[in-house]
Amino acid sequence: MLVTFGEEISAAAHIAVRGLTAALAGSRGVLNLHPAFASVLVEFDPRRHTHAGMEALVRSAIEDATEREPPPSRLIEIPVRYGGEFGPDLDDVARHRDLTPRRVVELHAGAEYEVYFVGFSTCFPYLAGLPAELATPRLAAPRRLVAAGSVAIAGAQAGVYPLASPGGWRIIGRTPLSLFDPAGEPPPLLRMGDRVRFVPLEEGAR
């Protein structure tokens, strides 16, 4: 069952998505929740819930969520090595936006982001809050392999690749932090609602 909160990316839609996801987590017969920018896909066991029963559960969860305070959000700092082999697209982003690479780093590291949702592939955080001056389209053809920890931009979105994977976002740096350990247990480093700051690591710093 797909529950939508409008058709735009907005802070209001995000708050509604976050609230519904928190309210439904762990409900009996709810198999999985797939939050996104303005929607939550509720995967339920049709042997345990009828569609009408599920809809009633979702409606009451939305009501509960609007009455409840959102859970406090954490501030996570992510160290980043910008440019060079770690950020092969830093210079391209600078050229595209008519900025110096140093200014791109200042803007990127000067902003505070919020994890709107975690999805697509394993633990990929979609971050809102990218300064408008940095918006840059995706690569025309995706890379076959993007390194784990790559810090990236696509349009007005920012993100970090948790695992090595193919990808078409512009890579401006890399974090040595592990966002996700396949052998470990979640929660992963970044969760929906977390606030994020990127902290530049000096070249050669450990």
Binding site: L31, H34, V40, L41, V118, P182, A183, P186
Partner: protein, 292 residues
């Protein structure tokens, strides 16, 4: 404790149960058996809980030696083991089950009484091949402990599931169904060689690209996506959790197991059904399982 030694691994043999649920909001999809019906039936036949961990073989099976006496069942497609399918079979200590290339569909399950006692990640023993969550595909020389998790006596031999094995997948309307015409349902599609546990890629007369713009949204198992090239992708057990392509249709739950049996180059067609028909079909497969 009994142990199973992998003599040969086959094309892609993994440990699977019914999947890892409750983590999609961290981007972790459920994984689990590609033919859920065969895994559940095989487990019931050897006296396990339906969700016990077992071996899933793909296209070419492996050979497995048992250190101690065991009771197993093979379920799904015939991989030429020379043993009856859908039947509890006693294997003596030192005996082996040797499977080969498939003679029918894409997957065969080897369920062992007691279940495979492998570590669980996030509550499930399932291997998510693409990310490595829950482990990796088996290799020659791997050793798997057998657990003591049987919950009842083994069953009698069963007849194969009495459901159509033809190429027609039943679907309900997808979230963007109104953007599309009837093209999905007209043609016959072919399963591409690039298909895997993440998605089944189909080839055929392209579906015209709709004009609408959509935000990335959550996507479900069995969702039929239509990317701009018009060649549908059916999201499968190792699916991405969100996606931005429009979806004309969704394969019904009762037909998920058939997705797991589709081989490369197999023909596929789609038939639109109502939610009531989809629920009736699901009840029919549950009745068959409970009759075992």
């Amino acid at each position: 404790m009994n142990r199973i030694r992998v003599l040969t691994a086959g094309a892609q043999t993994t440990v699977q149960d019914l999947g890892r649920f409750g983590w999609a909001h961290f981007g972790v999809s459920a994984s689990g058996a590609a033919d859920e019906l065969a895994l559940r039936a095989g487990n019931l036949l050897v006296g396990n809980a339906e969700n016990a961990a077992a071996l899933e073989m793909t296209l070419v099976g492996g050979a497995f030696e048992f250190e101690d006496d065991a009771v197993i069942a093979l379920a799904g497609s015939d991989f030429g083991a020379g043993l009856p399918l859908w039947t509890p079979i006693a294997i003596q200590a030192g005996g082996a089950v040797r499977c080969g290339p498939t003679r029918s569909g894409a997957r065969c399950y080897l369920c062992v009484r007691g279940g495979l006692a492998v570590p669980r990640t996030m509550g499930s023993a399932s291997t998510h091949v693409a990310t490595g969550v829950g482990g990796r595909a088996l290799r020659m020389g791997d050793v798997l402990p057998v657990g003591d998790g049987a919950v009842r006596q083994p069953r009698r031999a069963a007849a194969p599931p009495p459901f159509p094995r033809d190429a027609v997948l039943r679907t309900t309307r997808g979230p963007q169904a109104e953007w599309f015409g009837e093209e999905l349902y007209r043609g016959t599609w072919t399963v591409s060689e690039e298909s895997n546990r993440m998605g089944l890629r189909l080839r055929g007369e392209p579906i015209p690209s709709p004009a609408g713009h959509m935000l990335t949204e959550g996507v479900a198992l069995g969702a039929v996506q239509a990317p701009p090239d018009g060649q549908p992708i059916i999201l499968f057990v190792e699916q991405q959790t969100t996606g931005g392509y429009p979806k004309p249709a969704n394969v019904i739950s009762a037909d998920f197991w058939r997705l797991g049996q589709l081989r490369p180059r197999a023909p596929v067609a789609f038939e639109s059904v109502t939610i009531e028909q989809a629920l009736d079909a699901l009840r029919a497969s549950e009745r068959w399982l409970h009759s075992l």
